[in-house]
Amino acid sequence: MTDAASWTFVCHRDDIVPNTGVCAKVGDAQVAVFRVVAPDGTEDGPDNGIFAIDNFDVRSQANVLSRGLIGELSTETGPALVVASPVYKNHLCLKTGRCLEDEAWSVKAWAVACGDDGAIMVRAS
């Protein structure tokens, strides 16, 4: 069940260069929205490869996560899609916002939806 009022349209999928992120303003918050595409071109994941986490990097205290490099790293719980903060290279899980190096640097993951029309919606909360 989605509550239409709390979902914000942020941009179209084509506004995001594959395997990069952008920063969206959702209310007063900054949300880093990423578009992940596999090397063979498939846009997988629950929402066609779209993920959203805080844009604020706890470690550097700066709004920079949308500008990090996307990658995939092995973790105890299997491969995880991550973004590396451009400032100190701490890695944050795109799905959960968890920081792989130090729990204290974890950030919040935002609910995101991207339908086949390509419209990306983030749920404000």
Binding site: V17, K25, F56, N63, L69, G71, L73
Partner: protein, 844 residues
């Protein structure tokens, strides 16, 4: 049991280390010097800034243990063998059950009249070196008496102090013991080329007042042939004599020419007294090196621990006196029977006066085994040859191949696998190949761990290359990969990947990972592949297909700072800038409120630009004729220059013009790591070119090219690749050097670490880029030519490409700026507000 050790030098201390944990032993150490044991072998490093503490051999807390009592400034003057007491200079007596003499030796000063004048010194203790430093300050000319191993080391010290340096040798050649006539001659030539004057066959008769009043000629040395030499200070280094005076007063048997006589158990003529190290005489020989002394120390430790069973403990049976040294920058090595005195022995000789290499092999009469060698000028094969001689490994079919320069750069001689497990790899610390292998098996799989756990290569370091070879060979054998994989996605090193991409023609990251890797990549491999692809095909890094694999710095063509703002660095080639352009920079900084700072690379950095301001700022800069400075890339940073012959009264070439030419040639070139360069207009070297990846220094005849220098965390002096070359040759050589580095360097490996890890180091690079040993030069040059042709300013391109401009916005859905970026004023400019300052403001 009460053990007394007289002397806390290198060997005496080794004994203590061996016995530190032995039970029921109360040890008293009598040390005449004011400080406990230090590393005499590396004593000369005192001159290059090492302190007495750095040289100390004592591990912290060593003398805190209860079973060892250390007495400093405690000179033993007598031994009462009947009462088993040692008498000290101050009258105190120390009782012993067993006594070890480790009193070392003293420098021999020939009986020349005037040898005790002020400024006549010796070279053995830290105090001696302090005296040399003091005298060095007051002197212009220095003489070393003695052209042996220590004398030449001492000459280097004098030369480094800036003195006009002379070496006076009694014998007709240098290093009489270790090298032969031809080797000695080459050594002399090389040393003289370095500005040290060598006088052989000189018998000093007398030292008197010199002609110069004070500096320049405090003393005059008069020689038997009637000639004279004026000098300010004299260091005697004419050999060593064992310190056996205690043995003399105690009535122990000594050799005819000194030395305390010992047997295979290192016992003196009194069974409760041992002698070890340089004071001991074994089968008529004194061993003036540290390794045999350490051997003796280990043997005595075992004897003492074994007690009554001592007879079955290991015994001393002589030592190998082979050595490898760097004397005044010249490699010299001597192995076994270097002079070829073994009856019937045969020799192989190789002499290259041009390169300054001399090599000789001495083999048995049947030509089957190596028994000696001399290497001067280049001694890379010392380890291999020594092992062959020590282990009696049969010579290859063509023994001459061992000393002939290899044409194909291929390795030669014996593989490390040929060595038996008993082969001693580190003779200083007596570590065999077997010891290394078992340590590796036990988990010491890095060079650091292996050194720590076996102590191999921790004294003189001469065996380091061999230790590394053993390590690599063992790891390979045991199937442990020598891991230089880029990351979990690529099982290749950067170098391997470079080749794969070049051959495979992959032009994007996705193509590359599909072809050569697995998974999706990460923040390690993506920028690496981006750099490889850029180096191979020089595609614009901003093309959308490369966008997602660039580090943020490359993505926004600017350096990210701690608060998420960026810095802007326009290129200022050679550091030359017109007033008009300076004004533009100032105006831009003013318009956008940027913080300005002069960088270490002779250009100007503008800080505090928000991402959405970057295109406008660059628009203004590009319009005024500026280009991207690539401060954000792993690429050429700057070519620093001094003002050169145009203005400087010392300059011999136009360093600024050359710096600009070089900077414009290599701007934008992507590489494994950043590259810094500099050009100086004369040998005064004001541009500090020798600390750069590529350093160029003007000479009367052209340019000297230095490579692989480094400032930063671990500074390294650049090494001379070519001298007196003309402009065109210079550029050609830099082209080749850079391309070779780009092809073979590892990720984030500066040229300095690259060359240090490269097998063969500088001489390999010389072979490839000067002698063209791999036939690669034309290709390297062509690669560079393509780079140069396809260069375009990334910013100029970016601000005219709407698709790229889109990314320069903080929000995808708003034109607002990031409210978290805040500044305060400091010394008239902005600086980022600290987290604390932000918090204080929010709180009421």
């Amino acid at each position: 049991m009460k053990l007394v050790v007289i002397g806390n030098g290198m060997v005496g201390h080794k004994l203590l280390e061996e016995l530190a944990d032995a039970p029921n032993l109360a040890i008293t150490v009598l040390c005449e010097e004011p400080r406990p044991a230090y590393d005499r072998v590396h004593l000369s490093e005192f001159f290059s800034g090492k302190t007495a503490d750095d040289l100390s051999l004592v591990t912290p807390g060593f003398f805190d243990r209860a079973n060892i009592t250390l007495k400093l400034n405690a000179k033993a003057v007598g031994i009462d063998r009947a009462a088993k007491l040692v008498q000290l200079e101050d009258g105190e007596t120390v009782p012993y059950d067993q006594l070890v003499l480790a009193t070392g030796s003293y420098p021999f000063v020939p009986p020349v009249t005037g040898r005790d004048r002020n400024g006549c010194l010796v070279y053995r203790t830290i105090e001696d070196l302090e005296a040399m430093t003091e005298w060095g300050k007051k002197s212009k000319v220095g003489v070393v008496v003695g052209g042996g191993l220590l004398g030449l080391e001492c000459a280097k010290a004098l030369k480094d102090m800036g003195l006009q340096t002379h070496v006076v040798e009694f014998a007709p050649r240098l290093m009489t013991v270790q090298v032969d006539d031809m080797g000695g001659r080459l050594l002399r030539r090389k040393i003289e080329a370095m500005g040290v004057q060598v006088h052989t066959g000189k018998n000093t008769l007398e030292i008197t007042d010199g002609a110069g009043l004070g500096v320049g000629g405090r003393h005059a040395m008069k020689f038997a042939d009637g000639s004279q030499l004026q000098t300010d200070m004299i260091v005697f280094s004419a050999g060593i004599r064992p310190r056996d005076e205690l043995a003399r007063v105690a009535g122990l048997i000594r050799g005819e020419r000194g030395g305390i006589l010992i047997d295979n158990q290192c016992k003196t003529s009194d069974p409760s007294i041992y002698a070890i190290g340089e004071c001991a005489l074994w089968q008529g020989k004194i061993f003036g090196l540290v390794a045999p002394g350490y051997d003796m120390a280990r043997i005595v430790a075992k004897q003492i621990v074994a007690g009554d069973a001592a007879a079955s403990a290991p015994q001393f049976n002589g030592a190998d006196m082979s050595t490898k040294l760097k004397l005044l920058g010249v490699d010299v090595a001597s192995i076994g029977d270097a002079q070829g005195t073994t009856p019937g022995s045969l020799t192989y000789l190789f002499n290259d006066d041009v390169a300054g290499h001399y090599k000789k092999l001495v083999v048995t009469a049947d030509g089957k085994q190596l028994i000696g060698a001399v290497l001067v000028g280049e001694a890379n094969d010392y380890g291999t040859l020594l092992q062959m001689a020590l282990n009696g490994i049969p010579l290859p079919a063509q023994p001459e191949s061992l000393i002939l320069p290899s044409v194909e750069g291929g390795s030669k001689g014996i593989g490390i696998d040929m060595l038996p497990a008993t082969a001693s790899i580190c003779s200083c610390n007596n570590v065999s190949k077997g010891d290394l292998c078992s340590a590796i098996e036990g988990g010491a799989t890095s060079l650091g761990a292996l050194k720590k756990c076996t102590k191999a290569a921790t004294s003189c370091g001469g065996c380091l290359p061999l230790v590394k070879q053993v390590l690599d060979a063992e790891l390979k054998k045991s199937g442990v990969l020598v891991l230089n994989h880029l990351c979990e996605h690529f099982a290749h090193s950067r170098q391997e990947l470079f080749h794969l991409v070049k051959v495979g023609g992959q032009k994007t990251f996705d193509e590359t990972i599909l072809a050569h890797g697995k998974g999706r990549g990460c923040d390690v491999c993506k920028p690496t592949v981006a750099s490889i692809v850029a180096s191979c095909w020089n595609e614009h890094v901003l093309k959308p297909k490369h966008a997602s694999v660039q580090d943020t710095n490359d993505y926004y063509l600017a350096n990210i700072q701690k608060d998420g703002t960026y810095s802007v660095v326009p290129r200022i080639p050679g550091g030359e800038i017109t007033p008009d352009k300076l004004i533009v920079i100032g105006q831009v900084a003013k318009d956008y409120g940027l913080y300005t700072k002069i960088t270490g690379g002779q250009r100007i950095d503008l800080f505090g630009a928000r991402v959405e301001q970057l295109p406008e700022i660059w628009g203004a800069l590009v319009a005024a004729g500026f280009e991207s400075g690539h401060a954000y890339g792993k690429s050429l940073r700057t070519v620093k220059s001094c003002v050169g012959s145009t203005w400087c009264r010392y300059g011999v070439q136009d360093s600024v013009t050359m710096a600009i030419r070089i900077e414009e040639r290599y701007r934008g070139l992507r590489s494994p790591h950043k590259i810094k360069m500099a050009v100086s207009g004369c040998t005064r070297e004001c541009a500090e070119a020798q600390s750069k990846d590529v350093g160029v220094i003007a000479t009367e005849k052209g340019w000297n090219l230095y490579v692989a220098g480094n400032g930063g965390m671990k500074p390294r002096h650049a090494e001379l690749l070519a001298s007196d070359v003309d402009d065109e040759t210079l550029i050609k050589l830099i082209d080749r050097f850079l391309m070779l580095y780009i092809r073979t360097g590892d990720r984030l490996q500066r040229t300095a670490t690259w060359i240090e890890n490269l097998e063969g180091g500088l001489s390999y690079v010389k072979k490839v880029v000067i002698e063209d040993s791999l036939g690669l030069c034309a290709e390297l040059e062509a690669d560079m030519a393509r780079q140069v042709e396809t260069y375009e300013c990334e910013w100029k391109k970016a601000i005219t490409t709407p698709e790229t401009l889109k990314r320069f916005s903080h929000f995808v859905n708003s034109k607002e700026a990031d409210a978290n970026i805040q500044f305060v004023d400091e010394r008239g400019q902005i600086r980022p507000k600290s987290a604390l300052e932000k918090k204080l403001e929010v709180a009421p």
